[in-house]
């Protein structure tokens, strides 16, 4: 029994002792070793490490990964005195845990400091640019500048600022109303243009139509009248050719014909008896 108990006790002592002086640093961690509260060493590579037992040396772990800093939306003035509601974020990491520990100690503290640094850099930079540059043309450059400057300042705290980025940049509600009004006006203008274009095209088509119709009618009239004239002329020629040399007889027969046509029951004819027709009524 004795060797077994000895073995057990020995095992427990070894494990307990190992737990006191050994510690692991994870892939996502880095650590600072403090001696009596004084930071003395930093560990940035993962692995198994040795330290003096607890009351003498302690280990504080920090995240090694890229961390999030998400500011609450804030108003910023641009150079053209417009207000922009900025919601930005930054990605940062602790690169020198010893320095970090000496200056800021905790991530919460770091976030507060980042708030100061990033927001002041943003405000400084955006104040030198007009709204459309911030929104449209220059955003990438602006953000790179803000990132670089924030990074420079933050290095003093053992922090690297990798990226500052505007998540949202909106106008404040009172300015939005103005934008909406402008948008409406622009669209109304566009709508009017379309409608007028419609009128323009429609009127053009109708006018073209009327022109074409009139042209067709007039051409038809021209042809028709010429044809009629030709008919009249031809008829005249025929009549003239027939009647030439027989004018008296023509006059006689044609007059008789005209009598037949023009005298009807409404005609009142007063005739003396000594006309050719009635001469036999008088007796001889």
């Amino acid at each position: 029994m004795r060797p077994a108990v000895t073995f057990l006790v020995a095992l427990i002592v070894v494990l307990f002792g190992a737990n006191l002086v050994l510690f692991t640093v994870n892939e996502i961690e880095q650590a600072v070793v403090t001696q009596f509260g004084e930071p003395i060493d930093e560990i940035t590579e993962p692995g198994l490490y040795f330290k003096l037992p607890d009351p003498i040396q302690k280990v504080t772990f920090f995240d090694k990964r890229l961390l999030d800093y998400d500011a609450s939306p804030a108003q910023v003035y641009t150079k053209d005195k417009k207000i922009l509601v900025l919601d930005n974020y930054a990605r940062w990491r602790i690169v020198e845990p010893l320095k970090f520990m000496k200056s800021l100690r905790t991530v919460a503290q770091a976030l507060r400091r980042l708030d100061d640094i990033v927001f002041s850099e943003l405000r400084k930079e955006l104040g030198q640019h007009e709204l459309h540059e911030v929104i449209a043309t220059n955003r990438a450059d602006l953000m790179r500048l803000v990132t670089e400057r924030s990074d420079e300042v933050a290095r003093a705290y053992g922090i690297e600022v990798l990226d500052v980025r505007v998540k949202r940049a909106d106008l404040p509600p009172e300015n939005e109303a103005a934008v909406f009004d402008r948008m409406k006006a622009e669209r109304n203008r566009e709508a009017k243009a379309y409608r007028s274009e419609g009128d323009e095209q429609a009127l053009t088509i109708r006018a073209d139509t009327d022109l074409a119709a009139t042209t067709i009618s007039a051409a038809a009239y021209e042809v028709a009248e010429r044809t009629r004239g030709e008919g009249d002329a031809e008829a005249l020629r025929i009549y003239a050719a027939a009647y030439t040399g027989a004018a008296d007889f023509f006059q006689f027969t044609r007059t008789l014909e005209a009598y037949e046509k023009s005298l009807d029951e409404k005609t009142v004819l007063v005739q003396p008896l000594d006309t050719d027709f009635f001469k036999y009524l008088q007796g001889k």
């Binding site: 961390l67 909406f180 274009e197 139509t209 027939a242 008789l256």
Partner: protein
């Protein structure tokens, strides 16, 4: 074994803790401890083995073994899974029918020409480097089982707004949509590479892209104005299609009528002339008789139809006579003879 105190009368002898037993127990625990290191990786997973916290190896699907804790630990993660990030809305129920909630604060943004637009976007991505995803950034998002917020979501919003901010509203609304999707995808991938977070963007799709509701009516009116334009033009074309053929028809009618008139005139003239010639040739044979006959025949036709007053004597004598006679005739008591 504190139970011994509760059952003093028990006849069961106390466990005999012989050294052999103790060794066996220790060996059994040790074996169990060693066996704890067996793990399987499913086909759509990858595993990362850490030795004392340091990356030791990455294992592919299959049955594997790692040294037991605390020497080595293993993290198993799905890598084939497609993740989906929604901007501007959230799917609350994948359905069918799917249900969504709007997130106006996410979807509303400024365009390059300082207009405001609503854009909803879906991004699909995959974790392609498990070590990067695990070790290089905190708060990734869906990969860590977190829902809404996180690096991926932030990056999506930033990329979307930055790209939309470079384009005018009409581009975003219409023809620029594909281009914008591509730009967002590139931008997003650039961000993820910068953050070294092991994520590959598979697809960026703009969903609903439209004007905010405050100005929606004005935008719709533009669309209906376009339709009005089309309608007006179509109506005019209708007018054209109606008028032109009809006018052509009427022109034909006018010209044909003239043609007919000409033919009629000429043929009639020809007929008249021929008739006249025929009569004339007969007349020449006996002019006097024919003239008299023609005259009488004509009178025969005319006189029965008309009212006639025959006066004896000189008709040129007095106009008054004629008028009186006429009145008498109209009075109905005619003294003179009449026709019929």
């Amino acid at each position: 074994m504190p139970q011994q105190f509760d059952f003093p009368k028990s006849q069961v002898p106390a466990l005999k803790l012989s050294p052999r037993t103790i060794y066996i127990v220790i060996a059994a625990f040790f074996a169990l401890w060693l066996l704890d290191g067996i793990y399987t990786v499913a086909p759509d997973e990858q595993a990362v083995v850490l030795r004392f916290g340091k990356l030791h190896s990455v294992s592919d699907p299959g049955l594997h073994y790692h040294l037991p804790k605390p020497i080595e630990t293993v993290i198993i993660q799905s890598t084939a899974k497609l993740y989906r990030e929604e901007i501007g809305f959230r799917t609350t129920d994948p359905g069918p029918p799917a249900r969504y909630v709007q997130r106006p604060h996410e979807s509303q943004m400024l365009t390059g020409d300082e207009n405001i637009i609503n854009v909803e976007m879906v991004v699909q991505y995959q974790v392609t480097s498990i070590t990067e995803a695990l070790f290089s950034a905190k708060d990734l998002g869906a990969f860590e089982g977190r829902g809404e917020e996180g690096l991926v979501h932030d990056a999506c919003e930033a990329a979307l707004r930055q790209v939309v901010g470079r384009h005018a509203i009409d581009e975003v609304l219409t023809e620029g949509k594909l281009l914008i999707q591509t730009e967002i995808k590139e931008k997003l991938q650039e961000l993820f590479s910068k953050y070294e977070c092991g994520i590959t963007v598979l697809d960026v799709q703009l969903q609903t892209v439209g004007p905010p509701k405050q100005v929606d009516a004005a935008f719709k009116d533009v669309a209906s104005a376009k339709e009005d334009r089309e309608r007006k033009v179509n109506e005019a074309r209708g007018y054209q299609n109606d008028i032109i053929p009809r006018t052509r028809g009427e022109a034909q009618k006018t010209m044909k009528a003239a043609e007919a008139y000409k033919i009629e005139r000429v043929r009639r003239a020809q007929g008249d002339a021929d008739r006249f010639r025929s009569v004339l040739s007969e007349y020449k044979k006996a002019p006097d008789v024919t003239e008299t006959r023609l005259y009488i025949e004509t009178m025969e036709v005319i006189l029965p139809k008309i009212q006639k007053y025959v006066i004896k004597g000189d008709p040129n004598g007095s106009l008054i006579n004629i008028i009186n006679l006429e009145k008498l005739g109209l009075g109905g008591s005619g003294t003179s003879g009449e026709g019929k």
